[in-house]
C-alpha cells in the first residue's frame, strides 16, 4: 500500500460525506464559515463576551475559534481512527494491506478540513483587522503535525483495542467530550485557580491548544518546551501503539 490506496480512501472519505447533496464538497467550505459566523454573532455581538483585560469585541471569538478548529481536527481523528479497522473490515478482508497505515486516511481527510477552516479563520482575522505576525503562522504546520501524530497514535491504539472491545467506540466519544471540558478551549486557563492550572499541565491537549492561542490570539511564540514534551509523548505513544498492534496483529486479522 500503496500510498495511492490511502489517498483514494481519504478522497472518498471526503467526498462521501457530502455525496448526494446538491452543494457537494462545498459544504466543507460552508461549515467553517457558519461556525465562525455563529460564534462571532453569539459571543461577540449578542452576549458581548469579552476576555479579561481585552476590550476588542472579537477577542472571545478569536480565542475560541483558534482552539476549537485544531480541537475538532484532533477529536475527529481520534474518534474516527479508533474504529477504522472495524469500519474498513470489508476492505481488510479482501485486500492485503499493512493495517498500521490505515488510520492515515482519517488524518489526511481531517487535515483537508482543517486547512479549509483555518483559511476562513485567517480571512476572518484579516477582515476584522486583528493584528497578527505572519512569521508565526509558519509554526502552525509543525504544531498541527505534532498534534496529529499524537491523535493518530491514540486512535491507532484504540483501533487495535476496539477490535476486541466493541464498547470502546462509545467510550472514546465520551472520553473526548470530557477531555474537551478539561482543555482550555472555551475558557482561559489564567482564570482558573492555581491548583487547576497545574492540573492542566497533565493534559497534553493543553500543550497544542495553548500553542494555537499564543500564535493566533496573543501574537507570540508558543511555549516550545511544552511542544517538545508533546512530541516525545506523541512519538512514545506511537511506538507503544505500534508494538502493541504487532503483538496482536494475527488476532486482529482473525477477529476481523
Amino acid at each position: 500500500m500503496r500510498s495511492n490506496l490511502i489517498l483514494e480512501l481519504a478522497k472518498r472519505d471526503f467526498t462521501e460525506r457530502y455525496a448526494g447533496s446538491v452543494l457537494g464538497v462545498f459544504w466543507a467550505f460552508i461549515w467553517p464559515l457558519v461556525m465562525i459566523a455563529i460564534y462571532t454573532l453569539v459571543f461577540s455581538r449578542v452576549m458581548g463576551a469579552k476576555l479579561p483585560g481585552i476590550s476588542s469585541v472579537y477577542s472571545y471569538s478569536i480565542y475560541l475559534i483558534s482552539g476549537l478548529l485544531p480541537w475538532t481536527a484532533f477529536t475527529n481523528t481520534v474518534t474516527r481512527a479508533s474504529t477504522v479497522f472495524l469500519d474498513k473490515r470489508h476492505l481488510i478482508s479482501k485486500v492485503s494491506m499493512p493495517l498500521p497505515r490505515l488510520p492515515l486516511y482519517v488524518v489526511i481527510s481531517e487535515t483537508v478540513t482543517f486547512v479549509v477552516s483555518m483559511s476562513f479563520y485567517l480571512l476572518f482575522m484579516i477582515l476584522t483587522g486583528v493584528p497578527m505576525t505572519f512569521k508565526l503562522l509558519l509554526l502552525v504546520p509543525f504544531v498541527y503535525a505534532v498534534q496529529q501524530i499524537f491523535a493518530f497514535s491514540l486512535g491507532f491504539l484504540c483501533a487495535t483495542l476496539s477490535v476486541f472491545l466493541r464498547d470502546l467506540r462509545e467510550l472514546v466519544s465520551i472520553i473526548m467530550q470530557l477531555w474537551f471540558w478539561f482543555t482550555p478551549i472555551i475558557y482561559m486557563k489564567e482564570l482558573l485557580p492555581p491548583f487547576a492550572q497545574r492540573l492542566l499541565l497533565l493534559n497534553p491537549a493543553t500543550y497544542f491548544i495553548d500553542a494555537y492561542h499564543q500564535i493566533f490570539f496573543f501574537d507570540q511564540l508558543p511555549n516550545f518546551q511544552l511542544l517538545i514534551v508533546l512530541t516525545v509523548m506523541g512519538h512514545g505513544l506511537l511506538l507503544m501503539a505500534y508494538t502493541f498492534f504487532k503483538k496482536l496483529e494475527k488476532e486482529v486479522r482473525d477477529f476481523l
Binding site: F218, T231, E249
Partner: protein
C-alpha cells in the same frame, strides 16, 4: 507474518521524533537569542509619576502625567499603528480590591522604542468616572488593544492613592 515491530518503522518514528524535537528546541534557542519572535520579556515597561496622590474634586478635571519607559525588547507602538498600545488604568477600592478593570484609554502620541521614555497625560474626569466621594486606588497599566494588558506579561503597574471629594453633580 511476524509479530516483531519492523525496524524500518521504529527507525522512522524515532527519526520523526528527533526532527520535531530539534525543530522546537531550535525555535526555543533562537527565541532566547532574540533571532526569532519575541525575546523573554518583549512587553515590559516602567510606569512612574511625579505625584504621590490624585485628588478629584467635584467636576474638576485632573491631569496625571505618567512617565512610560520601555524596558522590553518590542517597540511600544503609538495610536497610529494597528498594534497600538494605550495607557489605561484599573480602579481599586482603598483596600486594594478590584472595582472596575476596564477604563478610558490614553493615546501614546509617538512610538516608544526600547529604553526610551515618554510622558502621557492621563486626564481624569469624575463626571465620567461617576465615583462616590471616598478613597480609591488608581492603578495605571498599559494595554495592547485587543491583545493583553502589560501587567499580564509581568510588567509592573503604577498604583496611586486617589481621593474623590464632593459629588459628581
Amino acid at each position: 507474518m511476524t509479530n516483531r515491530p519492523s525496524a524500518r518503522i521504529v527507525g522512522a518514528i524515532c527519526a520523526s521524533c528527533l526532527f520535531f524535537m530539534l525543530f522546537f528546541a531550535g525555535g526555543m534557542y533562537l527565541s532566547k537569542l532574540g533571532y526569532v519572535g519575541n525575546s523573554d520579556q518583549p512587553w515590559l515597561a516602567s510606569l512612574t509619576c511625579d505625584v504621590s496622590e490624585v485628588v478629584l474634586t467635584g467636576t474638576e478635571i485632573t491631569s496625571v502625567p505618567v512617565h512610560i519607559e520601555n524596558l522590553g525588547t518590542e517597540t511600544i507602538e503609538s495610536t497610529a499603528s494597528e498594534n497600538a498600545v494605550f495607557l489605561s488604568f484599573h480602579l481599586l477600592t482603598h483596600e486594594g480590591n478590584d472595582m472596575r478593570y476596564d477604563n478610558d484609554r490614553y493615546a501614546i502620541p509617538e512610538p516608544i522604542r526600547k529604553n526610551q521614555q515618554k510622558t502621557v497625560a492621563a486626564v481624569l474626569d469624575n463626571t465620567k468616572l461617576g465615583l462616590e466621594p471616598g478613597n480609591y486606588i488608581i492603578e495605571f497599566d498599559l494595554v495592547k488593544e485587543g491583545k493583553f494588558w502589560f501587567s499580564e506579561k509581568e510588567s509592573q503597574t503604577l498604583k496611586i492613592p486617589m481621593t474623590v471629594n464632593g459629588g459628581t453633580e
